[in-house]
């Protein structure tokens, strides 16, 4: 008898692909994906139930289908994804509350996995280089995604207290990147000219999209409980990332960034919310010792490899690696051979 898993937020790219991947796993009997709108792609062997997690109907689904594992992946990161900040907050916070209330009533439930985000740590100049799971944000988020995530996590902790028989795993996943994922970060790096904050060069950490799916699956089938940081090894700086893409960057002075950000947000190309700007100013690093030692998960891609995989999918810019290398070769050839003639 395998697990029966309920996956929320399957309309999202990551949620859908996770449900599809999980439905092929051996330990899993059945995967039920729910969301308010049908997924835009293939769900493989997973079933889709159209339901709103903000609605008590969800409790009936959980009880009737004898769900023993709930994977909550529907915390939306950008207002654009949820259709405005108000509905984003409602989906994230009220949705989680309703889902957890339903879970509390479910007698068969054994496991809850919440996909949280590293945004819970915020980003400021007072941050330590690497956040461990025991640390909190140095500046409490005043709004937006970071605040949503903080509230989602606090509700999750409350749930874990009330249902000690349910194994609760919270995954604080760093920015997911990869050739296929659509996220705030991938949108940002796909811009033809990448705006940066003048004089700041944040450290970034990435998780490859496949690793993100794998770690969700790992957490779903394993017995481990707790809160874990999920990130690829190493960091790269923003300047490094931009140069690896071969794209020009546009450094904006700090005071101009908020105005520019709200203009960019109108275009929905990329997200420039205040916490995103803070992230692009100060960066963030996650300590992944617990991920390795307690959760027993080893990401397949380092931060640099994940970014390289993403960069391969982006059309190279003016200063692409090949061009620079060719220029260098030509220069060395001409100069050294010219020097050779003269002895």
């Amino acid at each position: 008898m395998g697990q029966v898993v309920l996956v929320t937020g399957v309309a999202g790219d990551l949620g859908r692909r996770f449900a599809a991947q999980l439905s092929g796993a051996q330990e899993i009997d059945r995967v039920i994906g729910i969301d308010v709108i049908p997924p835009r792609g293939d769900l493989a062997k997973a079933d889709f139930v159209r339901a709103d997690i903000r609605n008590p109907v969800i409790a009936k689904v959980i009880v009737r289908e004898r769900v023993d594992t709930v994977v909550h992946t529907s915390v939306a990161a950008t207002p654009a994804a949820a259709g405005g900040r108000t509905s984003m907050k409602e989906l994230n916070v009220i949705g989680t509350m309703q889902l957890l209330a339903a879970c509390q009533q479910a007698p068969d439930l054994r496991k809850l996995v919440v996909k949280s985000s590293a945004a819970v740590y915020g980003a400021s100049n007072r941050d330590p280089a690497m956040f461990t799971e025991g640390m909190n944000a140095k500046r409490l988020p005043s709004g937006g995604y970071a605040k949503d995530v903080t509230e989602v996590e606090s509700y999750t902790r409350g749930f874990a207290r009330r249902r000690p028989d349910v194994a609760v795993t919270t995954l604080r996943i760093a920015n997911v990147i990869g050739p296929r994922i659509v996220s705030a970060m991938s949108g940002y790096f796909r811009m033809p000219v990448i705006p940066t904050v003048l004089g700041f060069n944040p450290r970034l950490q990435f998780v490859h999209e496949q690793d993100a799916l794998d770690v969700l699956q790992h957490a779903t089938v394993s017995e481990t409980t707790g809160t874990f940081n999920i990130a690829g090894d190493g960091v790269i700086t923003l300047a490094q990332a931009v140069r690896r893409l071969g794209r020009p960057s546009l450094p904006l002075p700090g005071f101009a960034v908020p105005a520019f950000g709200s203009a960019i947000r109108q275009t929905r190309v990329a997200d420039f919310s205040p916490e995103q700007v803070a992230f692009l100013t100060f960066g963030r690093g996650l300590d992944t010792t617990r991920m390795r030692e307690m959760l027993g998960f080893e990401p397949g891609y380092t931060t640099a490899q994940a970014f390289a995989d993403f960069a391969d999918s982006v059309s190279p810019g003016l200063l692409a690696h090949d061009r620079v290398r060719a220029t260098e070769k030509a220069l060395v050839g001409v100069l050294t051979s010219g020097g050779g003639h003269r002895g």
């Binding site: 100049n125 280089a129 450290r203 690896r244 060395v332 003269r342």
Partner: protein
């Protein structure tokens, strides 16, 4: 002095440049709307080609016009006189040029295009010459290395560690730029460098002074020079809030001064530098120089005890005098969000020139390491022990400061 030895310098008094003559130049006379030119220049054609050769001929001043005392400065004094003469001859050319053009077929000046006449081979040899000058005899591999370095920087093909430390740029640029300052400007003299461990974690604790944290930079340069190890400074959060400064600090190996980062670095076996006095030390008035301020809350000691690394006390003498802080504008500093706004004898007064540090003579002494590995990890939470070790470090630095001050002959030598 023989006339033949006179070397013509300058413009030879052609109009349009200040010649140093007692007469104003042609341009200034024209501007001032002075009297009409004395001679008509119809016979002369106002082109470069005509009078350029003339001006290049060394004009020998006749003795009658030589200014008395000209023998003292033979190369400079004749110029005005000879310039004057050339001036007189060629002076009318410019004002009357339109007349000349109207009566005669215009003679155009050929502007040489600098690139056209020089064959590529010449360019190449000039370049190889420059490369030899820059990189020495083995310039070919080194030039290739340099281009590869440029390519790596341009394509982001380099590594930074978890704290953002970029070893390549630190070694090639930051330390290379600071080394001459340490050696030539401050003439840093090092003592007790054998007290720095060659490997493994250690906590370097130093006094802090000098309005700007140059003492930290100089300590880092000296340590890298002697031991080849990179000092990893712990900086205040202000450093990481400032644009450019924060970026450079992280590239140079710094990270935030907090228990978590200190312990993480020490566990990784890094040489970590702390300045526990913080802004109290660096921003203290000149009258309180070489008086150690309070050593924070002793967080650095508990980090060292918890990781069992030795504490190396460092005393820096000389940094107090680089920017003598004689005043402060607290209200403006608060407005700008910085801990103090220094007034030095030169700073706001001379503007950016006031930012040049005074060339005081520096002595840096690395004291005997204070071992912490005999305490067990739990004693890091014993406040009494932490205070005692903090005081021990502080006393050690203060005593060394006094003895170094006694040894120093004067501030600047």
């Amino acid at each position: 002095m023989a006339d033949a030895e006179i070397i013509p310098l300058g413009t030879r008094g052609r109009p349009g440049r200040g010649t140093g003559a007692d007469k104003p130049s042609a341009n200034s006379r024209n501007l001032a709307g002075g009297p009409a030119p004395r001679r008509t220049g119809a016979s002369r054609v106002g082109t470069e080609e005509v009078h350029v050769p003339r001006s290049r001929t060394p004009v020998e001043p006749d003795g009658a016009r030589t200014v008395p005392g000209g023998s003292a400065e033979p190369t400079r004094q004749p110029s005005p006189t000879s310039g004057e003469r050339v001036d007189e001859q060629s002076q009318p050319i410019e004002p009357d040029a339109p007349t000349a053009i109207s009566t005669r077929t215009p003679v155009t000046t050929d502007h040489r295009h600098p690139g056209r006449g020089i064959p590529p081979v010449e360019w190449l040899s000039a370049f190889t010459g420059a490369a030899k000058e820059l990189f020495g005899e083995r310039w070919e591999p080194r030039l290739a290395e340099f281009l590869a370095f440029l390519r790596r920087r341009l394509t982001g093909d380099f590594v930074v560690d978890d704290y953002g430390f970029d070893q390549e740029i630190t070694q090639q640029f930051l330390l290379a730029a600071l080394r001459p300052i340490a050696e030539k400007w401050f003439r840093v003299e090092l003592r007790g460098t054998e007290n720095l461990p060659a490997e493994g974690g250690a906590l370097v604790v130093s006094n802090h002074s000098g309005t700007l944290p140059l003492d930290g930079l100089m300590t880092a340069v000296s340590i890298q020079e002697r031991t080849g190890r990179f000092l990893r400074p712990l900086g205040a959060d202000l450093v990481f809030r400032l644009p450019l400064v924060g970026d450079l600090a992280r590239k140079g190996g710094a990270t935030l001064a907090c228990i978590e980062d200190a312990e993480r670095m020490l566990r990784d076996g890094e040489l970590v530098g702390v300045w526990p006095e913080g802004f109290k030390g660096i921003g203290k008035p000149f009258s309180e120089r070489y008086k150690l301020q309070r050593f924070g809350r002793g967080g650095f000691v508990s980090a060292a005890i918890r990781t069992g690394v030795p504490i190396v006390p460092v005393s820096v003498v000389g940094a107090e005098e680089i920017y003598p802080l004689v005043g402060n504008i607290p209200s403006l500093a608060r407005l700008l969000g910085i801990p103090y706004l220094p007034i030095t004898p030169f700073f706001p007064l001379l503007g950016p020139l006031g930012l040049i540090p005074l060339p005081s003579k520096w002595l840096i002494e690395f004291g005997e390491p204070i071992r912490t590995d005999e305490y067990d990890e739990g004693s890091a939470d014993d406040p009494m022990l932490v205070f005692n070790v903090t005081d021990q470090v502080r006393e050690s630095i203060q005593q060394t400061l006094y003895s170094l001050l006694m040894q120093r002959k004067s501030v600047f030598s």
